[in-house]
Amino acid sequence: MITVRIPTPLRSLTGGEEQVQAPGETVKAVIETLEQKHPGLRDRLLDDKGVRRFVNIYVGDEDIRFLDGLETKLKAGDEISIVPAIAGG
């Protein structure tokens, strides 16, 4: 299973959960799996070009833009972090 850390602005889609788990061999597969359980999550992360431009997705400490993007391979125990642009203070 892959652990996905959900940022505050998206927790309304996960019932307030700050982290969720899902199976998947790639980042894209995990997002698709999560979409089944948490409808709307995919659209907040992706558009028709890929990862939305004000969102960054990390596997461990690596930005997937510098790995294989949404096709980045995952292994059991990996953690995905979503870092959206936030403005507040």
Binding site: V83, I86, G88, G89
Partner: protein, 244 residues
């Protein structure tokens, strides 16, 4: 490059939840001149996190209330420069060009991108910070500008975004983030190149500080090899803004 002066100048963009704690720390550094940029007034809902203000300041200008608090704390008035405006397309480059570092704690994306663009175009380092509810982010961008704010977030998100006024923000989280921003600012001003290119994310619910490498985007519109952003155009920052 900035001219050599007796005091380094820091432009504080936004005297809110991040600007207040950052200022409290930076004000103790006697070699700094602090340019305070805000045109907002203190609201009752600010007081739990905007630590320079008191009940009696509600309804008064943040700029004056902040200066008063700092001077009462022993800061020489000559070290404080009041900029009675928010950062705007028409004043951004002129303001940024006069300082050695920008510390940006604005609560709206338009100002964040504007500050990032102005800092890059004027070759000034900038420290960004943001916080919503229990989460905060901070990072420093070098005068060379890469990786920059647009490398991570590209452009102003469309539509209404949840900010502190809608989602709320926890006082200790902005206090932590503001202190981290001040730390980054002091490191940058002291010439510590290791302050750059790390994105810090703080989760106040788990007391967890995460540091990941921020990398430049090859096609970045601001700091990439063929930039499309070469000047400040107002239309680029046209989303509704709220008070800093």
């Amino acid at each position: 490059m900035a001219e050599t002066r007796a005091r380094k100048r820091v432009l504080i963009v936004g005297l809110g939840g991040l600007g207040c704690p950052a200022l409290s720390v930076l004000a103790r550094e006697s070699e700094l001149e602090l340019w305070l940029c805000d045109d907002d007034v203190v609201e009752l809902s600010n007081l739990h996190r905007q630590t320079l203000y008191r009940d009696a300041d509600v309804g008064h200008d943040k700029l004056e209330a902040a200066q008063q608090a700092l001077i009462l704390g022993g800061v020489a008035p000559a070290r404080l420069v009041a900029v009675r405006s928010r950062l705007l397309p028409e004043n951004a480059r002129q303001l940024v060009s006069q300082v050695d570092l920008v510390l940006e704690g604005a609560d709206n994306f338009a100002t964040k991108f504007l500050a990032a663009d102005a800092a890059h175009l004027e070759a000034r380092p900038i420290v960004h910070g943001a916080a919503v509810r229990w989460v905060a982010t901070a990072w420093a961008v070098s005068a060379g500008g890469a990786p920059c704010y647009r490398c991570l977030f590209e452009d102003v998100p469309p539509g209404a975004q949840q900010g502190c006024s809608e989602a709320g923000v926890m006082g200790p989280v902005v206090g932590f983030c503001g202190a981290l921003m001040a730390d980054l600012a002091l490191r940058v001003l002291s010439g510590d190149g290791s302050a750059f290119a790390s994105l810090y994310t703080y989760d106040g619910q788990r007391d967890h500080l995460r540091q990941v490498a921020a990398r430049g985007r090859a096609d970045c519109a601001l700091c990439g090899p063929s930039p499309s952003i070469t000047d400040i155009l107002e239309a680029r920052y046209c989303t509704p803004s709220c008070a800093a």
